[in-house]
């Protein structure tokens, strides 16, 4: 552990730290543009210059200089001040003075650092360079004249995303950042380069000229577009969510966010259900709450217990608990959250959980993926798998081929191959120190959970300090619904077989409504999507941005999201609708406020009251008779950009789907 002196203060830094990191440990701010903690070191912006002794008598780029024992570092000397001023002056030579019309204004590294470390004015009288704009797809807007050639975007797409598509062409002053032939950047994490860009060269196209950062109210929330539970901040202005940005959480999303989580928010204002509708003479017509409640109570007249609830994919735990409380109070226990009809065993939650954790899977050295297109099912998990492969892990995948961005072996889509493990796979898994199996949604749908559990003993997935058995869900509500026991053993089939008089659909848009022909279908949700089309009564609810709530991601990590904006029109937070319905049905559910609801839920399932990983105990004993059967014909996600009702309502997601997945012609925004 080298000891260095920073501005006279002696500190000990970890071995392998750079001078820049040493300065940060000492509490000194080092300006930088190209350096980024999660990317490789480029050392090309020169903004982080400091004075280091012993060494050549000139300023040194601290980001690329290893801290060594006995170094004397100065960040406050006249030489450093002059060097920073000089670098800043050079950077600004070709940077346009267009901050007033730049979307990065107010959150721009160059702007901030020019104020803090630059000299007052410019001495440059010549013409500035201008660079033509580059098309990078429907999400990234480019104003390349502003580019300062830090190459963060190039390094991100190469190292993190694993899709080499952004590059730096030409040289010197003429260097330009572009994609090959200006094709759209087409991977699931492309928009993260917008956050990485320290200037306004890459900005958000959908958010262009919408708001200034200081006008926005920031609310801590959780992304519901997949089961990763990425930590986000919702930035809202008035009653509208303007954008979603990732928060740093090294255990979950590091500091990235999938394009869907980031850009589906414009769907929050489109196709919203903002009033009560009831079906009269086959047509949905506007109505009052009391009328709708009366119809539901009427349908249950004399047979209160004939009620069932199905939960959608975006729900918070509180809504599901309230629905369950209502259904139970009516004397029914027909609840189900696996709306597509899966029936896997949920008696032991450890068997349906991502036990390695996202941070842990990075350390796996042999990974078998059964039935998951990880890039689409959980784009941020694929980043972790990529890191594992870079560290030497071998990956085997069963299912139709997709491009994992790292070397992987596809073993075909026939699951029966696992009944007699191929020798190569067996050898790799058995010799691995930290072997892992990931069972995806396509595998779950084939009912091979029990058979997969048999691999635990075969491969030695559970050992000291390591649990390599993982199930990857694709629905944000899934783990919470399982913890709340919001499931029926027979799945959706059992619910349909009971043919309930009233079916409460809590934003369930992927379920088969055809099986409920005789039921009064009540849709409590926020978007006019598939569920609303089939509904007899629509009660307008709140989306994830419009209510407080608890979410549990696929690792079993309990996280709280806060309410950013109010729901539009007559829409109410879902639990209040269910509470009012309880009164209309003449039953008591035992809560009158959100706090009481939450307390009751935590009393029932204490793990939901504690942020962090829930403890699900040990894996169950495998059923020795279970066998791998069937063939994975396809993955449940057919279109990455249109997986939930919010995304389907979003124009941005629709455009991404058209352009990036279906190859529609490039549509330049009319500006």
């Amino acid at each position: 552990m080298p000891k260095v002196t920073v501005d006279g203060q002696e500190i000990e830094v970890p071995a392998g730290a750079t001078v820049l990191q040493a300065c940060e440990l000492a509490g000194k701010e080092i300006p930088r543009f190209c350096y980024h903690e999660r990317l490789s070191i480029a050392g090309n912006c020169r903004m982080c210059l400091v004075e280091v002794k012993p060494g050549p008598p000139k300023p040194q780029a601290s980001c690329a200089l290893p801290a060594a024992d006995g170094q004397e570092i100065r960040t406050d000397s006249p030489m450093v001040k002059k060097a920073r001023e000089g670098v800043m002056e050079f950077l600004l030579i070709n940077h346009p003075l267009d901050c007033p019309i730049c979307d990065q204004g107010g959150e721009c590294d160059l702007q901030d650092q020019a104020v803090a470390y630059g000299r007052g004015g410019s001495r440059f009288d010549e013409n500035k360079r201008a660079v033509t704009e580059k098309y990078m797809g429907p999400l990234i807007k480019t104003i390349m004249t502003r580019c300062i050639h830090c190459t963060r975007c190039v390094r991100f797409s190469e190292e993190i995303a694993g899709v080499d598509e952004i590059g730096a062409l030409y040289r010197g002053e003429d260097m330009q950042i572009t994609t090959y032939l200006e094709q759209a950047a087409a991977h699931e994490l492309s928009a993260n380069v917008i956050d990485l860009c320290p200037v306004g060269a890459l900005t958000s196209r959908p958010y262009a000229f919408e708001a200034r950062p200081w006008e926005l109210k920031k609310t801590l929330s959780i992304d519901v577009s997949d089961a990763v539970g990425a930590n986000i901040t919702l930035h809202s202005k008035g009653r509208e969510v303007m954008r979603a940005l990732p928060r740093i959480n090294d255990d979950v999303n590091e500091e990235w966010l999938s394009d869907k989580g980031r850009y589906q928010v414009d769907g929050l204002t489109k196709r919203r259900l903002d009033r009560v509708w009831v079906r009269r003479d086959g047509k949905l017509q506007p109505a009052e709450w009391t009328e709708a409640f009366g119809m539901i109570a009427g349908a249950l007249e004399g047979d209160k217990g004939s009620i069932a609830a199905v939960a959608g994919d975006l729900l918070d735990a509180e809504t599901m608990f309230a629905a369950k409380a209502l259904v139970n109070a009516c004397g029914s226990n027909l609840t189900e959250a696996r709306q597509t009809g899966m029936t896997y065993d949920v008696s032991k939650l450890a068997a349906v959980n991502f036990n390695s954790t996202f941070a842990g899977i990075e350390t796996a050295d042999a990974i078998l993926i059964i039935g998951s297109n990880v890039r689409w099912d959980a784009a941020l998990l694929n980043v972790r798998l990529r890191k594992a492969v870079k560290a030497g892990a071998k990956v085997y995948i069963i299912g139709p081929e997709w491009d994992p961005t790292y070397p992987a072996t596809f073993l075909g889509s026939d699951l029966k191959i696992l009944n007699r493990i191929p020798k190569e796979l067996g050898d790799v898994m058995k010799s691995a120190q930290r072997p892992a199996v990931i069972l995806g949604a396509a595998g779950l749908a084939k009912g091979v959970l029990a058979a997969t559990l048999k691999l635990v003993d075969k491969f030695g997935l559970v050992r000291d300090g390591w649990n390599g058995f993982n199930v990857l869900h694709i629905s944000a509500a899934r783990m919470a619904s399982l913890m709340l026991d919001f499931t029926a053993p027979g799945g959706m089939g059992e619910i349909a077989a009971a043919s309930p008089k009233v079916l409460l659909s809590l934003g369930a848009d992927e379920m088969d409504y055809g099986a409920f022909g005789s039921s009064l279908k009540v849709y409590i949700g926020h978007h006019g999507d598939k569920g609303a089309h089939h509904a007899d009564i629509i009660l307008p609810g709140a989306s994830y941005a419009e209510k407080d709530g608890t979410y549990v991601n696929t690792e079993g990590r309990v996280q709280f999201a806060e309410k950013a904006v109010f729901a539009p029109g007559d829409a109410r937070e879902d639990w209040t609708i269910l509470r009012a319905l309880a009164d209309a049905l003449g039953v008591t559910v035992g809560f009158d406020s959100f706090a009481a609801l939450q307390a009751k839920m935590i009393a029932a399932v204490p793990a939901l009251g504690e942020e962090g990983l829930a403890d699900y105990g040990a894996l169950p004993k495998p059923d020795s008779g279970a066998k791998f059967e069937g063939e994975i014909a396809g993955y449940p996600i057919k279109d990455f950009y249109l997986t939930n009702p919010i995304a389907r309502a979003s124009e941005v997601m629709q455009r991404c789907s058209d352009e990036l997945l279906h190859g529609a012609d490039v549509k330049e925004a009319a500006e």
Binding site: D164, E165, I166, G167, L169, Y170, R171, D174, T179, Y180
Partner: protein, 222 residues
């Protein structure tokens, strides 16, 4: 500075070049270059392979050669690397031509020593013969580029034509060289100054004069 943007990606370009593949000899050379690097590091051979591709294009079109986008894509695919990484290399180095050139690519040095020794006259002489900067002359023979220092300051002014340098030029000497090239001959490369061999001082050596006729041992005189 020369325009370094790649030739536009048109259907005609695709039609002409998308069938590009190594000739048998070039394939051998390409694989020989790749074999120089450890397995999995075949990307390291991108520069010799781009040069090889440019020469093959040159042979096919009877020019110095250039790199159409489909050819760049072929090289990328041959090395198993992303196209953008190959285009980065091709657009960085001036010896890769991104636009069609003539049979002879005349690169005139215009940096200070050459300029002081009359490179302006050389450029004027080139233009007088119908050459245009950055384009191909009407007869398809010449492409003129003004470049920065080529490291021949002692024999300035100079031009580089394809793989050879011609130094100590005057407009007349340049004309003689260009005429010879146009006639299909191989003019003497290097300095065009009569009596001069390479870049030794004009008018004979001024130091180590005793070494001219025989190997003189200076060590005792230090």
């Amino acid at each position: 500075m020369a325009d370094r943007t790649p030739a536009p990606d048109t259907p005609e370009l695709r039609a002409r070049w998308s069938a590009f593949a190594w000739t048998p000899e070039n394939k051998k050379t390409a694989d020989w270059h790749i074999a120089k690097y450890p397995g999995g590091r075949q990307r390291s051979a991108v520069m010799p392979l781009l040069d090889l591709a440019q020469r093959q294009v040159g042979a096919e079109t009877d020019t110095q050669g250039w790199l159409p986008l489909p050819v760049i894509e072929y090289v990328a695919q041959y090395l198993g690397m992303p196209v953008i990484r190959v285009l980065e290399v091709a657009s960085f180095y001036f010896m890769y031509n991104l636009k069609p050139v003539g049979k002879f690519h005349v690169q005139v040095c215009g940096t200070t020593p050459c300029m002081l020794r009359g490179s302006d006259d050389i450029i004027a002489a080139c233009k007088k013969r119908g050459m245009v900067k950055g384009g191909v002359s009407a007869d398809g023979l010449w492409t003129l580029t003004e470049v920065e220092c080529m490291g021949n300051c002692a024999t300035a002014p100079m031009v580089q034509i394809n793989d050879d340098n011609y130094e100590d030029l005057t407009p007349e000497r340049l004309d003689a060289v260009l005429d010879a090239l146009a006639a299909g001959q191989k003019p003497k490369t290097g300095t065009q100054e009569p009596g001069r061999h390479t870049s030794e001082p004009a008018g004979g050596p001024t130091t180590l004069t005793d070494m001219v006729s025989a190997n003189h041992d200076y060590r005792g005189e230090w």
